[in-house]
């Protein structure tokens, strides 16, 4: 039998009435399935996915999941009978879903996942710059877990470090970042089911949210494994398990958790004075500890767990609100610090006015549970559930504590 060309494109109108052959496994084509919506009442499928967070678009996936959606889309005779034929179809074609594992991703989702896997493979082999954000498609938000630094920023850190004779520090931090990158890349190359789902929900959720004026920054904060946003992919939580890096002074490590809080604008206007327990990485200029990189103000918000590790200016300004006149690099720029404070508080006020609402979004997103700028929470202040989360190997989505961990649970 001849192979049906329309089926290969995913738009055969005859479905299984078609006189041509519909090869199995050929149903992975992207197509706009007009009949997709009818899958809602699919008992069997919904049972399967009951305990997984799925975005509303889930309906698509049930259709696609049964293998060749090609037989469904555009085939009006499948749409009208509703449930009955749906179930019927699923049974018929479930055996054909060799191309699609039973987790039932729609074609588009599968395409995204494939794209991610392929891009990861290319990224690894091409020798391109590692410290870059990534998104599988134009218009999609960034995938979490990748810290972004430009070559100039890295180079500046090197220059600053060598001025202080601190190059080993730089080397260690860079190696560490490379390691993190590698881990995340391997993870994405070979996603397991839960990883896939969290990735997909990340990509979808963030897209559908309306962008506040600080569109990008705000979005990123929400999708980056940040404790205050349970949406964070479990995978990122897993790999950045709040392990503090031995090479980094503990001060920075826990900065992660509390950094969400810290981003409260008021602390910003406060100058770079080291005395402020500014979780934003480097209590600045306090020489050696700060020396381990204030890889720039908040650098990337993604660094949730990792920022603590390398002290790279920890993800501080999390919700990337405000100007963040955060104390900069390690070099004894304390002198400039004070003069900046004047300017920065002025500009902070100014920008606070200008971008009023993202500033408010930050604190509002961060419930009162967060204490001031404490780096660690004493055990006494944690609820049993939070404690349990900290002690577990991995965070459970939706239960990630908002307070920083107690110091004794950190591996230093």
């Amino acid at each position: 039998m001849t192979i049906c060309q329309f089926f290969l494109q995913g738009r055969c109108r005859f479905g299984d009435r078609c006189w041509n052959e519909h090869p199995r496994g050929g149903g992975g084509r992207p197509h706009s399935g007009p009949v997709r919506g009818a899958g809602g009442g699919w008992g069997a499928a919904s049972q399967r996915y009951a305990n997984v967070i799925q975005p509303p678009i889930f309906k698509h996936s049930t259709w696609g999941g049964s293998g060749d959606g090609g037989g469904f889309s555009g085939a009006s005779d499948f749409g009208s009978p509703g449930n009955k034929s749906a179930v019927f179809s699923q049974n018929r074609f479930s055996a054909l879903s060799s191309a699609h594992p039973a987790d039932g991703f729609s074609d588009e989702e599968q395409r995204l996942l494939d794209c991610v896997a392929k891009d990861m493979a290319t990224w690894e082999s091409s020798g391109q710059w590692m410290f870059s954000c990534y998104s599988p498609e134009a218009g999609k938000p960034n995938v979490s877990g990748f810290r972004e630094f430009s070559a100039e920023e890295v180079r500046l850190e090197y220059y600053n470090c060598s001025a202080n004779n601190n190059t080993e520090n730089y080397i260690n931090s860079v190696n560490q970042l490379v390691q993190e990158w590698r881990n995340r890349l391997q993870e994405l190359k070979a996603l397991n089911a839960s990883g896939k789902e969290s990735l997909l929900s990340q990509l979808k959720n963030a897209v559908t949210q309306p962008l506040p004026s600080l569109g990008f920054g705000g979005q990123q904060a929400s999708s980056f494994g940040f404790p205050s946003f349970p949406v964070s992919s479990s995978s990122s939580a897993a790999s950045f398990s709040f392990k503090a890096n031995p090479s980094v002074p503990p001060g920075n490590a826990a900065a992660v958790g509390s950094s969400a809080a810290a981003s409260n604008p008021p602390t910003f206007g406060v100058t770079s004075s080291p005395s402020v327990p500014n979780p934003v990485g480097s209590g600045n200029s306090s020489a050696p500890s700060a020396a381990s990189f204030s890889f720039k103000t908040s650098g990337t918000t993604s660094g949730c767990g990792t920022s603590g590790l390398s002290g790279f200016g920890s993800s501080a300004a999390a919700n990337s609100s405000s100007t963040a006149p955060l104390p900069v690099s390690a070099t004894p720029s304390a002198a400039t610090g004070t003069s900046q404070s004047g300017a920065s508080s002025a500009s902070a006020a100014q920008t606070a006015g200008a971008s009023g609402h993202n500033v408010t979004s930050a604190p509002s997103a961060v419930p009162n549970g967060i204490a001031s700028d404490k780096l660690y929470t004493p055990r006494s202040e944690l609820t049993a559930e939070e404690l349990e989360q900290f002690e577990a190997k991995r965070f459970t989505l939706g239960k990630i504590p908002l307070k920083p961990p107690p110091i004794d649970l950190l591996y230093l």
Binding site: G127, A138, S150, G217, T323, V328, A343, A354
Partner: protein
């Protein structure tokens, strides 16, 4: 020295003589070129160069197989003019003087904390004129519209205004983090300096006042920007992309979803046939450039991306090496563009015909910056390490170069239909 018969200003800078000491190893070869008459439109120079598509501008062979050379020195495979007294560390930015200044002056900022200025003469000679220092590496520089001032942005979180006549530089801007981009804005009703910094702000400065005229928040650290009045495009970390309109006062015009998948590295605005800015080209670290129109009739068809600065060409079996696009510059007359990358090559492209015009030979160092002069006759590019492979590949002893190339012919657009 050739007898210049051409009218000085207007002529292309053909027949550029490398007025260099014998260190230019390819001395003999270099000398051969200038014998070409330095004539307008370089009718003879043109074809010679064009026919050497893909090969050196010498006589067809690769840069390494030089006669008589002892080492395979590939620092100038294109046999372009070397600028004298280049900076001692990597060059971060290049800018030519505006048309209001007679002659061509080139400034270059470097990681050696200095910004240098040369006069580029029509015969190709470059004369170092002056230099200014910052207390940190210089990341960007630009000229004022009248050519009397040079603005420089540095990692020391300040920007300075350098008055060339008096050779004095004063600080005009302050940020909380290194200043990555600096541009001069000349609007009908105001002029100011725009600085973009890693402190996630875009500030506008009247050079006479220590406080900014305006501060705009960016979603993330500013990585690159370009200004062509009345449009400004700023690309930030985390694939942020914002376009501003500058009439009356700068304001955000639109946030654009990035057409690229990876980190943004450079951006350049292009103009349409009536000289209005109409879109921009955005380069990323992943060997790709996106051409994006602001208000295209058909966005899906008009906007596109193309791959560049990759090894292996069209061979898809072996994994490619992918290099970052370090700079993009548009030819002021032809509208074609040049890209320079970490692979040590530069390429010329015609975005309307969607074709590549030329790719250079590979230099032994990445090309970190590029620019055209005001009439498009000179293409300058800097060969220096851009940190794309980390500190291990950094050799402070390695010499950095700035090359000048005659760009009048090579960037002519392909004729469509």
């Amino acid at each position: 020295m050739s007898s210049q018969t051409v009218a000085p200003r207007a002529g292309p800078v053909t027949g550029l003589y490398p007025a260099l000491p014998a260190e230019e190893r390819s001395g003999s070869r270099g000398m051969a070129l200038p014998r070409l008459p330095a004539v307008l439109a370089s009718s003879s120079a043109g074809p010679t160069r064009m026919s050497l598509f893909g090969s050196t501008s010498g006589f067809g062979t690769g840069g390494t197989s030089m006669f008589g050379s002892t080492t395979a020195d590939n620092h100038n495979p294109m046999k372009d003019i070397e600028v004298t007294s280049p900076p001692d560390d990597s060059i971060s930015c290049l800018a030519f003087s505006p048309p209001t200044l007679p002659g061509n002056f080139l400034i270059a900022g470097s990681w050696a904390n200095d910004v240098r200025c040369w006069e580029v003469q029509d015969n190709g000679q470059t004369i170092p004129k002056a230099q200014q220092m910052h207390t940190g590496p210089v990341l960007d520089g630009c000229w004022s519209d009248d050519g009397s001032k040079v603005f420089t942005a540095s990692c020391d979180k300040t920007a300075k205004m350098w008055d060339l006549n008096s050779n004095q530089a004063i600080q005009i801007a302050q940020h909380d983090a290194p200043v990555k981009t600096i541009h001069w804005i000349k609007a009908p009703n105001y002029s100011c300096v725009m600085t973009g910094s890693w402190d996630k702000t875009l500030k506008f400065w009247d050079t006479r006042s220590p406080t900014p005229m305006m501060t705009l928040q960016l979603p993330e650290r500013c990585y690159c920007a370009d200004v062509v009045h009345p449009m400004a495009a700023v690309a930030t970390a985390e694939r942020g992309l914002i376009v501003y309109q500058l009439e009356n006062q700068p304001s955000e015009f639109r946030r654009i979803e990035s057409p690229l998948k990876h980190q943004h590295r450079c951006v350049a605005i292009f103009k349409d046939k009536v000289n209005k800015p109409t879109g921009f080209a955005l380069g990323s670290i992943e060997g790709r450039v996106a051409i994006h129109y602001i208000n295209p009739p058909n966005p899906a068809k008009d906007n596109f991306t193309f791959k560049c600065h990759r090894s292996n060409g069209t061979n898809t079996s072996a994994p490619q090496d992918i290099y970052a696009v370090n700079g993009i510059a548009f030819h002021p007359v032809h509208g074609t563009l040049a890209t320079v990358g970490s692979d040590g090559r530069f390429s010329f492209w015609d975005k309307d015909a969607r074709t590549k015009l030329k790719t250079s030979e590979q230099l032994d160092q990445p090309i970190s910056a590029c620019c055209f002069n005001h009439n498009g006759n000179i293409f300058a590019y800097a060969s220096s390490y851009d940190w794309s492979k980390g500190h291990e590949f950094y050799n402070p002893q390695k010499k950095n170069y700035i090359f000048l190339r005659n760009a009048a012919e090579e960037l002519k657009p392909r004729n469509k239909k």
